[in-house]
């Protein structure tokens, strides 16, 4: 459920009751108004009745006063007569009060008329008494009585009508009151029911929404847990060793492969600094190497495999490793840890060493074949000459035979000497004259050169030399020239060029043949071990070993080729620095 939807629901659950209360208040207000109006009318009628009665009483008082005066002749009795002087104004007021009821008004008007007549009669009677007239005349008095009776009757009618009106109005008020109560009760019930039903609906809705949101959240959490578990299992089950550290380089995770490789258990390694668990030295020089995490931190990027490393395990035994480190970043790209992945390559290393030995043996085999040829031929001739000396004893040609045999033995000596030279290997890099190395490689391959009638041209810059291991470099050139000889057709050409400027720090050697070229798909695998294009006759190790030797000397080797029929060629390009790498670093170290 989205927050918007939640707000809408909340608003609705407030709005509906508010609306209902508003409707109810309106109804109540209307009803109260009605009731007030009705009661107002009752009050009004009560006032009218009271005023009317008061007026009647004043009129009766006036009559009583008149009688008292007539009997006693005393002025005090006429007090009430004088008091009724405001009668006209009071009648006007009464008439105004019943203005809504024309018959009543008519009646009051008539009463006023009659009272005004009685006032006239009263004045006449007062004059009669004061003037000693016959004020006690029966007829006269009866007239007065009749007048007053009519007034009384008039008032009675007005009061009766008002009384009836009052009853009707009271009844109406009572009715309205009852209706009000009923409608209030009804409305309250309706409101309550609506509220209950609506709230129930809303609550249920809300609960459902909430429930589904909760369920989704729970599912997501479960999914996340499962994913985490999955990744963890994945990390635990990969064959490569994985170590994770926090941003400070302290170990937070180690998989079983890492435990096996380092000899540390995860529990023991946790919170240790990476360099105490992953202790590495350079395989050849045994100098301590930069911790991969520091390297990643310094480069701020994934750091690929470094130099050949030896990992010193917890029990001080050693294994060969290949490692790679990477930073772990949060969503903002901040480094929150590091991951180190490495692999025990001891077996691979041993295998490579075996392969290198195999290549050496294969080379030795090839050399042996050469040697066999180079030695057997002159030996055969010497044998034949000796036999001839034996059977041709005393001939003048014997000296000639012996001379020939000596020459042939000299050739054998030359061959063995160059072979020994080839295999004499120094333990430290020495100055190697490239021309000598290439020439000795060519001498070794003389037989193949002759067999192919190859046109070999060598061009060397005067004094081209590098620091290195002559035997190994000879192996490189023997391999490259041997390959060229295999590739070229009968009578093909091989050009060996060695260029180096006096101040240049490196020497460039190219070996170009006009052979069939190398198929494009073979080029990426050319320097891989056990890859050969020569079928049974190749070991697939020559170029791989050559690359290894060149790289050991700090150089590079690459190939250019064109295999268009008729104009195909291949050129191997070897670049060797004049100084052997470790000597360079030693020299730099000394300079520093």
């Amino acid at each position: 459920m989205t927050p918007e939807r939640f707000s809408k629901l909340l608003l609705m659950s407030l709005a509906v009751p508010t609306l209902l209360v508003f409707v109810m208040a309106s109804v109540v207000a209307f009803e109260v108004g009605q009731l007030r109006d009705a009661l107002g009318w009752v009050d009004h009628t009560d006032t009218v009745i009271a005023e009317t009665r008061a007026e009647l009483r004043r009129i009766v008082d006036a009559e009583t006063g008149l009688r008292g005066f007539l009997v006693t002749g005393r002025e005090e009795f006429l007090e009430s007569q004088r008091e009724s002087s405001g009668t006209a104004a009071r009648f006007a007021k009464l008439e105004a009060m019943v203005a809504d009821n024309p018959p009543q008004r008519q009646r009051l008007d008539e009463i006023r008329g009659k009272f005004e007549n009685w006032i006239g009669y009263s004045k006449q009677m007062v004059q009669l008494r004061e003037g000693a007239g016959n004020y006690s005349d029966f007829e006269l008095n009866m007239t007065g009585k009749r007048m007053m009776d009519e007034i009384r009757a008039g008032f009675a009618t007005v009061i009766d009508v008002e009384q009836a009106l009052r009853d009707t109005r009271l009844e109406r008020a009572t009715h309205i009151d009852k209706d009000f109560k009923i409608s209030l009760a009804g409305l309250s019930l309706l409101l309550a029911t609506t509220l209950v039903l609506f709230s129930r609906y809303q609550l249920r809705n809300l609960a459902l929404q909430y429930g589904s949101a909760l369920k989704t959240a729970e599912e997501k959490a479960a999914e996340e847990r499962e994913r985490k578990q999955w990744f963890l299992t994945l990390l635990r089950s990969v064959g490569d060793a994985v170590i994770a550290t926090n941003a400070n380089g302290r170990i937070t995770f180690m998989n079983p492969a890492a435990e096996a490789a380092t000899g540390w258990s995860e529990a023991a390694a946790k919170q240790q600094r990476l360099e105490s668990v992953f202790r590495t030295v350079k395989a050849d020089t045994r100098e301590r190497l930069e911790n991969p995490v520091d390297r990643v931190r310094r480069l701020n990027a994934v750091a690929g495999p470094l130099d050949h490393r030896l990992l010193i395990r917890r029990d001080e035994s050693e294994i060969h490793v290949d490692d790679c480190g990477a930073p772990i970043r949060d969503d903002d790209g901040k480094i929150i840890g590091f991951i180190l992945i490495f692999r025990d390559v001891t077996r691979q290393y041993e295998l490579e060493r075996t392969l290198r030995t195999s290549e050496k043996l294969a080379l030795a085999g090839r050399i042996t074949a050469s040697v066999a040829h180079e030695i057997h031929n002159p030996l055969d001739t010497v044998g034949n000459l000796l036999h001839m000396i034996l059977i041709d004893g005393g001939s003048e040609h014997i000296a000639e035979y012996a001379e020939l045999a000596t020459q042939q033995l000299q050739r054998v000596h030359q061959v063995t000497l160059s072979m020994l030279n080839l295999y004499r290997e120094s333990h430290a890099p020495v100055t190697v004259k490239l021309a000598e190395v290439v020439n000795s490689a060519l001498a070794l391959l003389e037989m193949q050169v002759r067999s192919k009638e190859a046109q070999v041209t060598c061009r060397f810059t005067e004094g081209s030399s590098v620091e290195g291991f002559p035997g190994e470099l000879r192996q490189v050139f023997t391999n490259l020239i041997h390959n060229a000889l295999d590739a070229i057709p009968q009578g093909g050409t091989i050009a060996i060029d060695c260029m180096s400027g006096g101040t240049q720090k490196q020497v460039n050697i190219t070996i170009t043949d006009n052979g069939c070229g190398i198929a494009e798909q073979d080029i990426p695998r050319l320097f891989q071990p056990l890859f050969t294009t020569k079928g049974e006759s190749g070991t697939g190790l020559g170029l791989w070993v050559s690359k290894g030797i060149v790289e050991k000397h700090g150089g590079t080797i690459d190939v250019e080729t064109k295999n268009t029929p008729g104009e195909s060629w291949t050129r191997f390009h070897v670049v060797l620095p004049r100084q052997f790498p470790s000597l360079v670093s030693t020299a730099q170290a000394l300079a520093n």
């Binding site: 066999a372 040829h373 057997h376 002159p378 055969d380 044998g383 040609h397 000639e400 020939l404 020459q407």
Partner: protein
């Protein structure tokens, strides 16, 4: 070096009539070795024709009445095996001996040759091997 002038003397092998001598076609790209081997074989009573490579050898084989062929294996342009194949195509019966500096040769080459020999063996054994492959020796007494 003029080996042709070297007389043949003091041997049990040189007394035959030159007309009856068997002709050996001897092929090798090594000129000194070839000359010495030819001289030795002549001293052993054979008539020797020499060639320094495969194509020359085939020409000589066609042009001459050759009784046996002695082939070096490793030669430029055509190796001994290829020459042997061509020779067999011309005349399947003429015996062929392949000489090589190697201890072993490809099997198909070994099948083509009547005999494969390693260079440097005692010359006496070579001569005996040649003789054993020839159908007969006119005037042979031993």
């Amino acid at each position: 070096m003029a080996f042709e002038s070297i007389p043949i003397a003091g041997s049990d092998l040189h007394m035959r009539d030159p007309q009856q001598r068997k002709t050996i076609l001897c092929v090798d790209d090594e000129p000194i070795g070839l000359m010495v081997r030819a001289k030795l074989l002549e001293m052993s009573g054979f008539s020797v024709i020499t060639g320094v490579d495969g194509p020359t050898a085939l020409e000589l084989f066609r042009a001459n009445d050759v009784d046996i062929v002695l082939l070096d294996y490793l030669m430029p342009r055509m190796h001994g095996g290829e020459v042997a194949r061509e020779l067999r195509a011309i005349d399947p019966k003429t015996p062929i001996i392949i000489l090589s500096a190697y201890l072993s040769l490809p099997e198909d080459v070994m099948r083509l040759a009547d005999l494969c020999l390693v260079k440097g063996m005692p010359p006496k054994e070579l001569v005996e091997a040649i003789r054993s492959l020839l159908p007969y020796e006119d005037g042979e007494t031993g």
